[in-house]
């Protein structure tokens, strides 16, 4: 049921962009059979903590990420590895929070993100909880249900005004479906109509999606350069 709803949202939100979907379906089918369940936890961990910290920081320009907190993945969830002072939090997210469904259990996924303070206090908490639940052995459906319930009970906060993040790393791995995300910024709101930002319309630079279960709307705005200042073109 839930999967159908998400699929419907996808079709609605990206109706103008489905030219790629045929090719995607083939890749997705293959990926689904490739990663049917969780791999051994070791495959999701990065043995070199220094490398994970560096990858996390690469999500934003060094002028931002050098003063950010950095979280790294442990066997039971994310832990603080570096304490910052500017309110940003950088992290390398794994497949269960940041990859398309076919890559949900893909152990190779590494998605560097730097959240600003407002999103670290609001949006990031959802992904930390999601990770805790996954590592505790919950299924995808159980996790989705638990997050939605926690949002409804206000155990997880609504999005704060100005919540946004940087995803400008030249590195990382988005999954077999999308191997690398172009550099972009993301903005978080507690459920608004994507049309209020003109998202998903022809020639609009903004993509957006609402999730009614989580009362969440995410907007994506591509930017021209990687975090190190080099052109992405």
């Amino acid at each position: 049921m839930r999967k159908k709803k998400v699929g419907a949202i996808a079709i609605k939100s990206f109706a103008l962009l489905v030219v790629l979907s045929t090719a995607y379906q083939a890749v997705a089918q293959e990926a689904t059979t490739t990663y049917p369940s969780m791999a051994p936890i070791e495959q999701y961990l990065m043995p070199d903590q220094g490398a994970e910290i560096a990858l996390a920081r690469s999500a934003a320009p060094e002028s931002i990420s050098r003063d950010a907190d950095v979280l790294v993945l442990g066997r039971h969830g994310f832990e603080t590895a570096a304490k910052g002072k500017n309110g940003f939090v950088c992290i390398v997210e794994r497949s269960w929070t940041s990859a398309p469904d076919p890559d949900f259990w893909n152990p190779k996924v590494r998605t560097p993100i730097c959240y600003n303070a407002a999103s670290a206090r609001s949006f990031l908490r959802r992904n930390l909880k999601r990770t805790d639940l996954i590592l505790a052995g919950r299924t995808k459906a159980q996790v989705d249900e638990a997050i939605g319930a926690a949002v409804d009970k206000k155990e997880l906060p609504a999005m704060e005004p100005g919540a946004m993040c940087y995803m400008m790393s030249k590195q990382g791995y988005g999954g077999d479906t999308i191997k690398h995300w172009p550099p972009h910024l993301m903005f978080y709101f507690s459920q608004v109509d994507p049309a209020t930002w003109g998202a998903n319309l022809p020639d609009s630079p903004v993509l957006g999606m609402s999730d009614t279960q989580e009362h969440l709307t995410e907007f994506v705005v591509p930017v021209p350069r990687w975090s190190d200042g080099t052109e992405a073109r």
């Binding site: 320009p61 940041s98 479906t177 209020t196 630079p205 969440l216 994506v220 930017v223």
Partner: protein, 247 residues
């Protein structure tokens, strides 16, 4: 990012998005005031149809086609086209810059802009007020005092969350500096902290300016205004979908 969004983006052309132009709008370099006073009002006015077309060009047609359009007259802005999607497109003039901006009275400025519904409701009223008072001949200090009074009496609204505008016209003239123009989005926030978005730092794609002033030295009363920051992100395409040159 949530995996649901990742899933949807993976279906989209987002993966094909090319890099964007890497430029920052040129900051005013001249410390003197090249436009110390208002020019004759005729120099700020436009042919009505041309102004409507320029206003609409601020956003992709999919947005601006159904937007309301306002145009400048001798006494202020008036509605020229009634839209149906809540967006309002218009052509800003130099005086919509900060009060101490060197190009405040630059009659060449034509800043095509489409405001989303929250911005149309909560940002545009300030533009109306400022424009009407200036065109009526009031001085900047008088305008500032009148706006402050209106804010205190709640005649002007508080900023709505999610206020955004598109400035992607190929035909805008934003400044005498640099290439005069660059396609960008602007996000209005009540934060007065540039660092909240990592703006104005090396290699950051985000610029931030204070809506009211550059330094507030000339008009210190602006310091007591409600914080209003404008965050700006340059995009890679003009509103018609053609790529913007790298600058």
């Amino acid at each position: 990012m949530t995996r649901k969004l990742a899933h949807n983006l993976s279906l989209s052309a987002f993966v094909l998005v090319a890099a964007l132009i890497a430029t920052r709008p040129a900051a005013a370099q001249d410390p003197e005031q090249p436009y110390p006073t208002m020019a004759p009002v005729e120099q700020y006015l436009m042919d009505r149809d041309a102004e409507i077309a320029l206003a609409r060009s601020a956003a992709p047609d999919a947005i601006s086609h159904d937007a309301s359009v306002i145009v400048l007259t001798r006494h202020g802005y008036e509605t020229a086209v009634q839209g149906k999607n809540g967006w309002v497109c218009w052509v800003g003039r130099g005086w919509m810059a900060m009060f101490d901006h060197p190009e405040f009275w630059n009659p060449k400025v034509r800043a095509a802009d489409c405001l989303n519904p929250p911005a149309a409701r909560s940002v545009l009223p300030y533009a109306y007020k400022r424009t009407e008072l200036l065109l009526a001949g009031h001085s900047k200090p008088e305008v500032i005092a009148a706006i402050k009074s209106a804010i205190e009496k709640k005649e002007l609204p508080a900023l709505e969350p999610g206020s955004v505008c598109y400035m992607m016209s190929k035909s805008s003239y934003l400044t005498d500096n640099g290439g005069h123009n660059a396609p960008h989005l602007m996000f209005y926030e009540t934060s007065k902290d540039d660092a909240a978005w990592g703006a104005n730092l090396t290699n950051s794609p985000v610029l931030s300016v204070n809506y009211w002033y550059i330094s507030a030295q000339s008009y210190p009363q602006l310091k007591s205004f409600p914080p209003l920051s404008v965050f700006l992100v340059v995009v890679d395409k003009w509103s018609d979908g053609t790529p913007a040159p790298t600058m």
